[in-house]
């Protein structure tokens, strides 16, 4: 992965986080009712499923994205970095076995990934919930659903960004 691509993807995540957090503040519904889609996870999935570049480079970008996500999520520092880093490695490992050609594929993969990501976050941060972590499980499916719904749009935007960086479609594995 080129440094330019890494920077663009990190910046795209940053912009996405700013927009979603600001718009959510204007929403009359609380985050727990209509959860914010996991923008950072979608970028990590996109990069991981694309499979281009080395694992350390991908992981480095995932950690940077996670660091930004931590600043916007109100979570303890390191939580998003760790979970997104793991998500990136798993997405890379699955990239050669998964078909993400249609928006439906994208939504299903994003749904499963967001469910797994939410469960992983809860498992790691369970000590914060004072034995009440099981109740937080209810939030995982709704968050995963909103993430899955915006996944095709997010992938499309990221793909366009990618095409600007690497105009030759043959160089892109995801089309």
């Amino acid at each position: 992965m080129s440094a330019q691509r890494a920077i663009v993807m990190i910046l795209a995540t940053y912009v996405g986080l700013i927009i979603t957090s600001s718009l959510q503040a204007l929403s009359p519904w609380p985050v727990s009712t209509i959860p914010t889609p996991e923008v950072a996870l979608l970028v990590v999935l996109y990069l991981g499923l694309g499979g281009r570049g080395t694992a350390p480079a991908h992981l480095g970008v995932a950690l940077a994205i996670g660091y930004l996500a931590d600043l916007f999520a109100g979570s303890p520092k390191g939580l998003e970095s760790l979970t997104l880093g793991i998500a990136m490695l798993l997405a890379r490992a699955a990239s050669s076995r998964l078909d993400v050609a249609t928006p439906w594929h994208t939504m299903v993969i994003a749904l499963v990934a967001a469910l797994a990501h939410g469960l992983l976050q809860l498992a790691i941060s369970s000590s914060l919930y004072a034995g009440n972590a099981a109740a937080a499980l209810r939030l995982v499916p709704t968050t995963a659903l909103t993430t899955a719904l915006v996944a095709p749009l997010a992938f499309r935007i990221l793909h366009r960004l990618d095409r600007r960086l690497a105009p030759d479609p043959a160089r892109l594995r995801m089309s």
């Binding site: 600001s22 204007l26 985050v31 109100g74 009440n132 209810r138």
Partner: protein, 303 residues
């Protein structure tokens, strides 16, 4: 890929993954620490968030007040359109009046408190469904604001300042599982610790360590105890909606519905304690949902 290269990649990956693990271990308990890079990023982000919030709000107002009314030029539909416009204006005026009402209550509360307050506006909320944090823009410089300070709205308490960066703060809402606020049941004077309920579909809280002898009942008003020095005494926190007394044990489980609608807060006050003993607001300054003034708690005054 050669074995050596693969082994090297594995080592790098393991090392990289160790970084967030170490960060997490260090920050799991205390989330208020910000390093230079954190502050720089947040200082850049907060104005952008405030800008987007303001822009979207402005576009919404523009749409309601101008663009949606452009087509009313047709003479034959003038009366109908004027009626629609007046209705829209009426709704806008009601909204504005409601907002001004909230601001007025905040001003009354501010003048009644015997310590400094800094006005602030919510500009963004957390992006994670598991945490309850809002980002606010302070009315004036954040030099006086420190992590742990109380944040209140006209109806009651909102939460605590979690971290400060320039003129912006992250506020840990009372409904966050990490939040803990010393409270009393206004009717009985029983003391406990208010904690957020993890994963609640709404913003709910519960009281821990409330002794069984201090029987709470549904509808009881919960107010701040004033202990700790950050929260003034007798500020409304919420109302008891569920009490669960097990057949054994020292404590009862009490679920509390906050008086502040965290999903709709826009304007808040950050309470800056003075060295002197913080005293509570006058009862009439606080307007809980049922308009009943907070009963004075029987707890000991804050030390």
């Amino acid at each position: 890929m050669t074995l050596t290269r693969r082994a090297r990649e594995l080592v790098i990956v393991a090392t990289l993954l160790a970084v967030p693990v170490l960060f997490l271990r260090a920050n799991l308990a205390a989330t208020d620490h910000l390093n230079v890079v954190d502050r720089a990023i947040l200082r850049v982000s907060a104005p952008l968030q405030a800008g987007i919030t303001g822009l979207v709000h402005g576009i919404g107002s523009g749409w309601n007040n101008y663009i949606a009314l452009v087509h009313v030029k047709a003479d034959n539909a003038r009366l109908t359109d004027e009626n629609a416009r007046l209705r829209a204006e009426l709704i806008a005026a009601r909204n504005a009046a409601g907002r001004e009402g909230d601001l007025e209550k905040l001003l009354v509360l501010r003048s009644s408190l015997q310590f400094d307050t800094i006005a602030a506006r919510v500009i963004a909320v957390e992006t994670s469904a598991f945490f309850r944090v809002v980002r606010i823009k302070l009315d004036r410089g954040g030099d006086e604001v420190k992590p742990g300070m109380a944040v209140i709205a006209s109806a009651g308490i909102v939460g605590r300042v979690q971290r400060v960066f320039g003129g912006w703060c992250d506020v840990l809402l009372a409904a966050d599982p990490k939040s803990s606020i010393d409270v009393v049941v206004a009717r009985t004077g029983g003391r406990g610790v208010l904690k957020g309920v993890a994963g609640s579909d709404r913003y709910k809280t519960r009281i821990e360590y409330l002794e069984r002898k201090d029987e709470a009942a549904e509808g009881d008003l919960i107010v701040t105890s004033g202990l700790g020095g950050f929260f003034p005494r007798d500020l409304p926190v919420g109302k008891v909606v569920k009490v669960d007394r097990h057949g054994f044990g020292l404590y009862q489980e009490v679920e509390v519905q906050p008086v502040v609608d965290f999903g709709k807060i826009r304007d808040v006050l950050v309470v800056v304690p003075r060295d002197a003993q913080p005293a509570g607001p006058t009862p009439e300054a606080i307007a809980p949902p049922d308009k009943a003034p907070a009963e004075p708690s029987k707890s000991e005054p804050a030390k």
